[in-house]
Amino acid sequence: MNNLVILPILIPLITATLLLLLPKRIKLQKLISVISLSFATIASIVLVHKVYTDGIQTLEIGNWRPPFGIVLVADMFASLLVLTGTIVSFMCILFAFRSIGKGRESYYYYAFTQFLLTGVMGAFLTGDIFNLFVFFEVMLMASYALIVIGGTRSQLRESLKYVLVNVISSALFVLALAYIYGLMGTLNMADISNKVAESGQSGILTVVAILFLIVFGLKGGIFPLYFWLPGSYHAPPYAITALFGALLTKVGVYAIFRTFTLIFYHEPEITHTIIAILAGITILIGAIGAIAYWDVKKILIYNIVTAVGVIIYGVALANETGYAGSIYYLVHDMVIKGALFLLGGAMFAVTGTDNIKKMGGLIKRHPLLGWMFFIAAMALAGIPPLSGFVGKVLLVQGGLEADHYVFVGVMLLSSLLVLYSVMKIFMNCFFKAEVLSEKEEQGSTKGLIYPSVILLALSAFLGLGAEFVYPYVWQAAETLMDPSIYIQAVLKE
């Protein structure tokens, strides 16, 4: 019994409902959003600390024992993601204060972001696989609204594709759930894990496992199911794309981790090999996309795809170093993708375009923006003092331990391509000859930079303070490595 676990879900939910009641009071909406996100951040910090000191925290909703009722489980993996997700969305909303515009604000923008947050946090914390589906839907409904809010031509077109893809993947999710319920007779993840272990993961269960991989792959954007992602993420404004890039695909990634480390880990020759191959191709596809485009937003979006590939590969490594690397990289990637999209948004606010060829010489009047973009680019590529380095080193180490030399090669090559793609933005947009004179600039970066300052500081902390962060990550990796810790915490046998 510990109601602390539900606070990261409950606070945004109550806030969203409150915001629905006052659609036209925009100042008040901003104030409520800030207050609630501060509370949510504090609650998730307390949660991480509590999990670190006292082990996995569970909450049996409605006081029903686990296999029968819904249980919320906060292990270290979930609570780290909850904390990072809350902070990143806090910064995205601060960015939105000055960039999203009155039209969108008065049509429930803040309420939808809080609903999105409810869904994401719920997906991280739930211990029941049908409840995971419900929270996926909460998150997706809010994201449908956010992708179309404002109603520009490209948003309408892309939201149609996005909704179509996600409705199909949700239907597949329900199908997969029906199969697993038909086979195992339970929906509690710890209980499913027990029963799958008893029956030894027969052929049909492996088929269901691959069905789950397809479902979560569609949500998370792995090859060959990433096709909807570049277009859909390109349509909405930067404040919304930053939220999506930092949170939505990561939930799919989290679900893959959860299912393939907790439930379907008995036939790694089949499932984990498939994951490994797909992850490798995803990394390459993302990197190729990132170097191919001359559009700031497109480049950043393809970098999401690369990162998803890198993180997913951790599942296939299936050793503690690999898991720790993936978790570190996942946390880092949420922070740095948020920062990069927000910086891209600030660049868009100045120039009014995403086209790299139409920018140049921004460093003269926006030195802070320029050097921050440089630092973010370094962190993304994994240059030592910054956060991307630790995760990648651990992944390389895990890859070498598991003799996955091809993966190590692909990952190091992809780092190079990723670095090239973001340096292309930096060199062309901030140096070169000046394109826009002071009068031609579309707007100012006033108030748009400080959210990314905070995110970059967090990224630097993740890199420089690795000593401090690593025990937390290691505890998360240990739980992933040994499902019995999770099962015992939930079922208390």
Binding site: I6, L10, I14, T17, L20, L21, P23, I61, G62
Partner: protein, 140 residues
């Protein structure tokens, strides 16, 4: 030619009440027999839709000056707060209580706090259904 829907309007004023009462019955029946907040809410919105068909949106808004989006939000708030109420008794979120109570007319009645949760669901369903219908009806 002027269309006269006198019969439709007369029958509707009468029928809407029967449908409304039936929906309330369904809402309260939910704990022991088929029914509940969702179907009750849908039936209530069916009664309101029938009124919309017989009259027009402006008449409806005069007769029922309610912002249905607010209804949905209030319903959501009620459902959440019944869950949060459990915090006061130091039990997990959404733990419900159940008791038999002697009511003046109905006699011994089973009262569960899930009823408050269901009331929230009912209001959300009515609010959302009516918001959708009114929004589509109003847009040109």
């Amino acid at each position: 030619m002027k269309v006269n829907d006198l019969i439709l309007q007369t029958v509707t004023t009468f029928l809407a009440f029967i449908i409304f009462i039936f929906s309330i019955y369904l809402f309260f029946a939910g704990h022991y027999t088929p029914g509940g907040g969702f179907i009750g809410g849908l039936m209530t919105s069916a009664a309101l839709v029938l009124l919309l068909l017989a009259y027009d949106i402006k008449t409806m808004q005069k007769a029922l000056p309610i912002n249905f989006l607010t209804v949905a939000a209030v319903g959501l708030m009620i459902s959440i707060l019944t869950g949060v109420g459990a915090f006061l008794f130091d039990v997990p979120f959404l733990t419900h209580a159940f008791q038999y109570i002697e009511l003046p007319i109905l006699g011994k009645t089973a009262l569960a706090s899930t009823l408050a949760f269901d009331l929230g669901v009912y209001l959300v369903v009515v609010g959302i259904a009516m918001t959708i219908i009114q929004t589509i009806g109003e847009s040109e």
